[in-house]
């Protein structure tokens, strides 16, 4: 209930007449919060991903291609998220054989591999220059378009994406899947000796994390109107969720709250003060996470 109330308050924010740039920043913060929540869902099962950009990029490219081939933005976003879910399932199948650092490296390699494909399959993806002309998301009819300079639709959609990711995570943690994932995290061998088959739960975890991350990527594509391989399959979308989620702790809203705070502080405080160094907080946080990670028992 608290979560629903918080989301409703945030949904009303555009009515204050915030400039378009701020609406854009908040939208991006919600998308990063979605990524951190999706990353945390994997971590709940002891699965560490260094390659969430794979799912983000699949969602972004899937939606962009569908839109450019005539699908409505809603259908395109759905197709993008579905493509990312399929990608997640494929990585989950590999996770049946890999654990810990080997799995983390495999996810990183998956994102890099897909970036390479997007860069080189020019006929489909537009190559290094990417795809442009992706139509924006329409605003809610009740809120006039000019209020947020055309950013209101994307604002609400990114907030809804975050709400969906948080609801999904909460449902998983309370279900049989949550029990299975917690057991796999705490002791996979002991779990298998109790009849727990790891593979389907790992596939499920990666599919769900993939669908939430891909949804964010699809919304991102429509929000910016363009996708590029080096951006949507880039390392930022792999590293940032890991850093943000780890800073946010293991609770359900923690990673999302940390992501919003971290992104807005980085963009609103560091960027104006030291434009050249505005990514420094990510680097420092990554170092802190690397030092803290073994102790926080996130690695199986």
């Amino acid at each position: 209930m608290k979560l629903a109330a918080a989301l409703l308050v945030l949904a009303a924010l555009p009515l204050l007449g915030l400039p378009a740039y701020y609406l854009y920043l908040f939208s991006m913060a919600y998308l990063f919060a979605t990524l951190a929540t999706a990353w945390n869902l994997l971590a709940y099962g002891g699965l560490v991903s260094f390659g969430q950009a794979a799912f983000f990029g699949l969602g972004a490219y899937g939606a962009a291609l569908a839109s450019l081939h005539g699908a409505s933005p809603w259908l395109a976003i759905t197709l993008g998220a579905a493509l990312a879910a399929a990608g997640g399932a494929a990585v989950g199948l590999a996770a049946g054989r890999l654990n810990g650092a080997a799995l983390a490296l495999a996810t990183l390699a998956t994102a890099e591999l897909l970036r390479g494909v997007a860069l080189n399959w020019t006929a489909l993806t537009g190559g290094g220059s990417g795809l442009v002309g992706i139509p924006p998301v329409p605003s809610l009819p009740a809120i006039p378009l000019e209020l947020g300079g055309g950013r209101v639709g994307a604002y609400h959609l990114s907030l809804a994406t975050l709400g969906a990711a948080l609801t999904l995570s909460a449902a998983v943690v309370r279900s049989r899947a949550g029990l299975a994932l917690a057991a796999l995290r705490e002791g996979e061998t002991r779990g298998t000796l109790l009849g727990l088959r790891p593979l389907p739960w790992k596939v499920l975890a990666f599919s769900l994390s993939g669908v939430a991350t891909g949804l964010a990527g699809a919304v991102y594509a429509h929000m910016l109107g363009a996708v590029e391989p080096d951006v949507v399959f880039g390392r930022l979308f792999s590293i940032a969720p890991l850093v943000m989620a780890t800073l946010g702790g293991r609770s359900l809203p923690g990673p999302a709250a940390a992501a919003v705070t971290f992104y807005l502080v980085s963009e609103l405080v560091f960027h104006p003060l030291a434009p050249a160094l505005h990514q420094l907080p990510y680097a420092l946080a990554l170092i802190a996470v690397a030092l803290v990670l073994p102790a926080s028992r996130r690695m199986p």
């Binding site: 049989r176 029990l179 299975a180 917690a182 057991a183 995290r185 705490e186 002791g187 061998t189 002991r190 779990g191 298998t192 000796l193 109790l194 009849g195 727990l196 088959r197 790891p198 028992r297």
Partner: protein, 241 residues
């Protein structure tokens, strides 16, 4: 009826032969004591029987079905339960959730969550841990961990229970409890293979004793005969006959 049959089980770690062609068969409702010095292959044999290790040669048959190479979760669902000498429960989960894992993912378990939780309570009562149901498993004492480990191994309603040094590290009172426990499990119709170093515990509960030495089965018979035999002393103390 024969529950379990091991035929020529061999396992090697690099050049070291851990098990060199072990053969035995176990009838239902027997309590078998597995003896042998450190490094004789007892835990390796348990690893093979529970599916954690695939033997280099030989086969395991369970109720007439060849189960060699099946993964642990499939053996668990076929009724093989196991404890570890050093219990490692799901540390961050509560005692109740630990047992709930076993009660949820094994074969033939209650369908509703309420019924599963009742089964968890039943198991916690058997091992005497109901008072600690809400505690995180990582906070348990060694004795409590052994009880939880036992509840976990029973959670799949196993037909065959592999128990690794249940009585070791326990007080004399704890050992008496273990003896009563073995008797209860056998009365419930379970077949048990137990690694125990306490001869006192063994003499009271075992129907049959198997002795492993350097990966080979060197003795097999009723406790009275095996525990007094020179073979056992040779295995444990390295005495020449």
């Amino acid at each position: 009826m024969t529950l379990l049959e091991a035929r020529g089980i061999s396992v090697a770690y690099g050049g070291l032969v851990a098990l060199g062609g072990v053969d035995f068969a176990i009838e239902e409702r027997q309590v078998i004591a597995l003896l042998g010095p450190n490094g004789s292959g007892k835990t390796t044999l348990f690893d093979v029987l529970s599916g954690l290790r695939r033997p280099a040669a030989g086969d395991v048959w369970l109720r007439g079905e060849c189960v060699t190479g099946l993964p642990p979760w499939q053996l668990a669902r076929r009724g093989v339960g196991r404890t570890f000498q050093i219990p490692e429960p799901f540390g961050a989960l509560t005692v109740r959730d630990n047992v709930l894992v076993g009660v949820t993912f094994q074969a033939r378990q209650p369908r509703t969550r309420a019924a599963r939780l009742r089964e968890v309570e039943r198991l916690l009562t058997i091992v005497g841990l109901t008072g600690r149901a809400g505690a995180a498993a990582a906070t348990l004492s060694l004795g409590e961990r052994k009880r939880l480990e036992l509840a976990l191994s029973l959670s799949g309603r196993p037909a065959l229970l592999l128990l690794d040094e249940l009585a070791s590290g326990l007080s004399p009172k704890g050992r008496e409890e273990v003896v009563r426990f073995y008797a209860r499990l056998r009365a419930d119709g379970l077949t048990i293979v137990a690694v125990e170093h306490s001869f006192a515990v063994l003499a009271e509960v075992a129907d049959r004793v198997l002795v492993l030495d350097r990966g080979t089965l060197v003795a097999d018979g009723p406790p009275a005969a095996v525990l007094d035999s020179p073979t056992l002393r040779t295995a444990y103390l390295g005495e020449e006959e």
